[in-house]
């Protein structure tokens, strides 16, 4: 965690010589500070760290229906790395990520920029409308789209048949990934738009004045002033999206009910871990899969951050 380092760095180092004599007020303040963050750390430990350690412990064992539990070392992990179902599920969400995230964030960015110019009439209502899908629970959203996709009496299929285009099969094994991309994009555009929009609102207006004086039009301002200024927010949304993609669960698990032939048990890594634990009754292996998935997410998120940092540094040097 970077909290403690940040706090320490902010403390003035000038107080070094009379080190012993930390004033009592200061000490009291410190104690109060620790007391304030204590509830967070208690819950953090009990709800996150302990389960994490416990499932790490579980992942080192092997439990069979016959013969019970036995220590297995890293056998579950090496099995996972050779498990074609796990690997293909990671590959599938990787593909999902590469296609869905740029589309979703692109649309979110454009919408945020349009709303920010204030030119589009009814910007408040627009903001709300775009944000509403995020307020709809994923379960409800998936059920709703499941109905819209329905090949027999889904409205899309009916319209398509009415104009003589035949019945689109959104729920076939070939098209299901695209259908899923559509659902998730619909759900999360508003959320990402709000983050970017909030960042846009915090840009100091002097920058715009300067740009205007330099003769920049609205598009040029957006490209050269606004987008660079909100880049940290965009990186944040990218990281959220990476995590969200790898953790896809509710959508595929609900679509499985209406398209069981298209959504396999290992459609996404999370869904696979769930099925391993509750259908195959291989809790230990599921724990290993969950851990590996966490590592994959951490690595990819870190790589994205690192490349962003590099880029910043490179630009800073210029």
């Amino acid at each position: 965690m970077s909290h403690p380092t940040a706090l320490r760095a902010e403390r003035p180092s000038a107080t070094a010589p009379p080190r012993r004599r930390v004033s009592t007020t200061k000490r009291k303040q410190n104690i109060a500070a620790y007391l304030f963050i204590l509830p967070f750390f208690v819950i953090f430990l009990a709800m996150l760290v302990v389960p994490l350690v416990y499932s790490g412990y579980l992942s080192l064992f092997e439990s069979r229906l016959i013969g019970g539990e036995a220590f297995a070392g890293l056998a579950n992990y090496s099995r996972a790395l050779q498990d074609p179902q796990f690997l293909s599920s990671v590959g599938r969400v990787g593909l999902f990520l590469l296609i869905q995230v740029p589309i979703m964030l692109g649309i979110a960015l454009v919408l945020a920029l349009v709303l920010d110019t204030g030119r589009a009439g009814g910007s408040k209502a627009g903001r709300l409308l775009i944000f509403i899908p995020y307020a709809v629970p994923a379960v409800v959203a998936t059920l709703m789209w499941g109905y819209l996709y329905g090949p027999d009496f889904g409205p899309i299929a009916q319209v398509s048949r009415a104009v003589g285009l035949g019945t689109p099969d959104f729920l076939s094994p070939e098209n299901i990934l695209g259908s899923l991309i559509n659902i998730v994009t619909w759900e999360f555009i508003g959320y990402n738009m709000i983050i970017i929009y909030a960042a846009l609102r915090s840009i100091p207006p002097e920058l715009y004045e300067a740009a205007e004086i330099d003769g920049a039009g609205p598009i040029r301002t957006a490209w050269s002033v606004k987008i660079p200024a909100v880049r940290p927010a965009i990186v944040l949304t990218i990281i959220f999206s990476i995590i969200g993609s790898f953790q896809l669960f509710a959508e595929p698990s609900l679509l499985n009910a209406i398209a069981p032939d298209a959504i396999t048990n290992s459609f996404t890594p999370n869904y696979y871990a769930y099925n391993l634990a509750f259908i195959n009754r291989e809790l230990n292996y599921a724990a290993a899969i969950a851990f590996l998935l966490g590592i994959v997410i951490a690595v990819i998120s870190y790589v994205v951050q690192l490349s962003e940092q590099r880029r910043e540094r490179r630009e800073g040097a210029m």
């Binding site: 965690m1 970077s2 909290h3 940040a6 709800m47 996150l48 760290v49 389960p51 994490l52 416990y54 499932s55 579980l58 069979r64 229906l65 016959i66 329905g150 090949p151 027999d152 009496f153 094994p173 960042a199 940290p232 927010a233 990186v235 944040l236 990281i239 959220f240 995590i243 790898f246 953790q247 209406i258 398209a259 069981p260 032939d261 298209a262 396999t264 048990n265 999370n270 871990a273 099925n275 634990a277 509750f278 259908i279 195959n280 009754r281 809790l283 230990n284 599921a286 724990a287 969950a290 851990f291 998935l293 966490g294 590592i295 997410i297 951490a298 998120s301 870190y302 951050q305 910043e312």
Partner: protein, 451 residues
Amino acid sequence: MSASRTARKLGVIVVVGALALTACSPGGGGGDEAATTDDITAEQREEALSTPTELTFWTWVPDIENQVALFEETYPEIDVTVENVGQGLPHYQKLRSALEAGEGAPDVAQIEYQYIPSFVLSEALLDLTPYGASEIEDDYVGWAWNQVAPGEQVWGIPQDVGPMGNLYREDLLTQAGITEPPATWEEYATAARAVKDTTGSYISNLGATQAGQLIGFMWQRGAKPFGYDGEQTVSIDVNSDEAKEVATYWTDLIQEDLISVDVDFQDQWYQGLASGKYAGWLTAAWGPVFLQGTAESTSGLWRAAPLPQWEEGDNVSGNWGGSSDAVLASSENPIAAYELAKFINNDDASALSLATEQFLFPPQTSVLENAEFADQESEFYGGQKVNELFSEISDTVDTEFQWLPFMEYVYSSYEETIGTVIAEKGDIAAALDDWQDQLVSYAESQGFTVE
């Protein structure tokens, strides 16, 4: 830039959180209490039933409170709480969690026949023989009793069964020139062609991911895909010659586009039954009432018949579905719990009302022979005595069919290997080999001896 640092920090927090969330999963082990093996005496039974006792009963049978009320009237000291924790898989998941946690499990639970072995394996069920269960064996049709008592022990009391038959649209078949329901599978294929050509309907639908239906067909063919000795040995033979014969038959019909492969129990499928997209449904004895509710607008057009046969003149059927009520080994009041499971499914009034009010298809001979049940004429089926027909079919179900102690995996693996092939109209017989391989390797990895 401070905004970017915040963003990065947030990113780190989120990543840690994500790690923690994905890594959460329950675990643990549980001990099981050994059951007593001495027979229960009449005094013990008397005492247990006259002591104030609270029982918990997990089931998803609708309105079972009515039958429970009958039980409580008879034994006023016993207080039963009925809980519906979900239907099918969620029910079993909660049951297994409670058993592993060592607390919170009910005294009596509804368990479908195919899941009994998995609970026997974890020693979660009480052997009911010392409580007098073997005495009521003759009250049930033989094959249903074999489902709850494959060996010496009795693991549950049969509640309902699903012997398979053929429900079909008489009007559509007549239009295609078929006046008698197909007696053999060969005739069925011919009829399928005629129906498709003249009416455009599929003669029936094979649910792509519906393992129960295809396993029922294998059951009829005499295949023995599964076996379990109650301990550590299983036999897996889902790609036997008989099974492949069944698979090839359906592959051919599907590839000729005479049978549709829509996923069943979905809106689209309900619509298909009501709209005449399917001119029939090869289903179990619980199907007639279900269909009546689903395809109301086609009332009077349907008829029921036995399944087509593999050999002319044969009369065999398979089973699809059905459940029992079992007593958990962890129950602190096993005698009262057994009496509850028995009463619900054995008391004349209770068992009859399960059949006439909840429309469960009975395994009790007393109900099957009861005029109130058997002579019921159904308008939906043009006044046919559907119950009587399925009673007759029930006598023709092969008696020795068994299950594996890990049917959850069997079904999910079916969906993966067979379900996708059916949906793609591929070769089901070839997919049976993949299914076989997956099942064997899972069984071996779980420590079973595979025969």
